[in-house]
């Protein structure tokens, strides 16, 4: 692959790296796992880059490839993440101190999201990123109706986890 292609990829990835960081936050716990997933996504993006023709924005394309990588990898991994590992999440959730109660609630919310499966996480991710259903459906390769139904189901599921 040519140097120019590589250079353009690295630059665009650098500008859009938060997308990957955010996906890592949702799919992994702990700094090492975050780094591993980040690297894996970067490599997958790089592999797919020659096929990226620029008819969509780099970020849109990156969402798709990165999420699919996370979903596939997550499937190979064991599904359950132990609650012990979970404690390590605390460091980034409680960086700043503000309303303790809200803080607690957010922590519980993250924990609840962690219990969702790979595709559900992807939907939550898109939701948090404020993507509309059209974009969600395109990125995840499901129909818009299906995305809506899934999202509703996820909300129900989260409610159940939060208020057992």
């Amino acid at each position: 692959m040519s140097d120019q292609l590589e250079q353009s990829f690295v630059q665009q990835l650098k500008q859009n790296q938060n997308i990957i960081h955010k996906i890592c936050r949702l799919y992994t716990s702990g700094a090492d796992a975050h780094k591993d997933l980040f690297q894996e996504i970067t490599i997958q993006l790089w592999k797919a880059f020659p096929k990226f023709r620029g008819d969509s924005k780099f970020s849109t394309w990156a969402y798709r490839v990165a999420l699919n990588t996370a979903i596939t990898l997550y499937r190979k991994n064991t599904r359950s993440i132990s609650t012990v590992e979970f404690e390590s999440q605390r460091h980034f959730i409680s960086q700043e101190d503000y309303n303790y109660e809200e803080e607690e609630q957010i922590k519980l919310l993250y924990q609840a999201v962690y219990q969702l499966n790979d595709i559900e996480k992807a939907l939550v991710f898109m939701y948090l990123e404020e993507k509309d259903y059209a974009e969600i459906s395109e990125t995840l390769g499901i129909s818009e109706v299906n995305a809506r139904v899934k999202m509703n189901r996820i909300k129900g599921k989260l409610r159940k986890i939060l208020n057992p």
Partner: protein
């Protein structure tokens, strides 16, 4: 669901809380695939040993020697086998160490030197195996000619007629060359592809490191 909105608020707030990677770090990530290549070298070498071992269990030299009525040689073969497995295990250990090194190194420079080291180890490993194949074949021929009664007639002829001697030796040498050639090709395909990938990766790393 208002909880999700709370999460969204928090999510946005932390949008920029990630430590940012530099271009150089991203470049490096693209070339870290070395560790997966080295992992494959390790896996293939282990599979290879398992295959050879199972073949040698099915085809036992002990039985063959027994059929030749020279059981006293069994011990030599055992020693030879132990030595051979020892060396191969040492190689596998080195592959493992290379793999560990490559997947944990942080600096481009040490990654490069580790790649070179791995390539060398694999090359030595292939040469060792080819050498052992030659030794094995020669031993096999010597055994057959010295002790196998079925070859006795041929031996008598060889002693009497120079032409037979030349033809036989020619055939033996040819079969060694062919066997080594086949194995060489086999290793070239098996490890050659991985080694070439490592080399490509090495060259790319060199460019970054300038």
């Amino acid at each position: 669901m208002e909880e999700l909105d709370l999460l969204k608020k928090d999510w946005k707030k932390k949008e920029n809380s990630f430590s940012q990677l530099s271009e150089k770090e991203i470049y490096k990530m693209l070339h870290r695939k070395s560790s997966s290549i080295v992992k494959w070298i390790l896996i293939i070498s282990i599979i290879e040993v398992l295959v050879w071992t199972s073949i040698s269990i099915i085809y036992s030299t002990d039985e063959y020697l027994k059929s030749l009525n020279h059981e006293e040689l069994v011990i030599y073969f055992r020693v030879f086998n132990f030595f051979n497995y020892g060396v191969i295990l040492a190689f596998i250990y080195m592959f493992y160490k290379n793999y560990r090194n490559i997947s944990t190194t942080a600096s481009t420079r040490s990654l490069m030197s580790n790649i070179l080291k791995t390539r060398k180890t694999v090359q030595y490993y292939v040469w060792y195996n080819l050498f052992m194949i030659v030794i094995g074949l020669i031993t096999g021929f010597i055994l057959a000619f010295s002790f196998n009664p079925e070859i006795g007639i041929l031996k008598e002829r060889m002693v009497n007629e120079g032409k037979y001697m030349a033809i036989t030796i020619g055939i033996l040498i040819l079969s060694i060359v062919i066997a080594v050639g086949i194995f060489w090709l086999f290793y070239r395909i098996l490890y050659g592809i991985l080694l070439r990938k490592l080399l490509v990766n090495y060259k790319e790393l060199k460019k970054i490191d300038l």
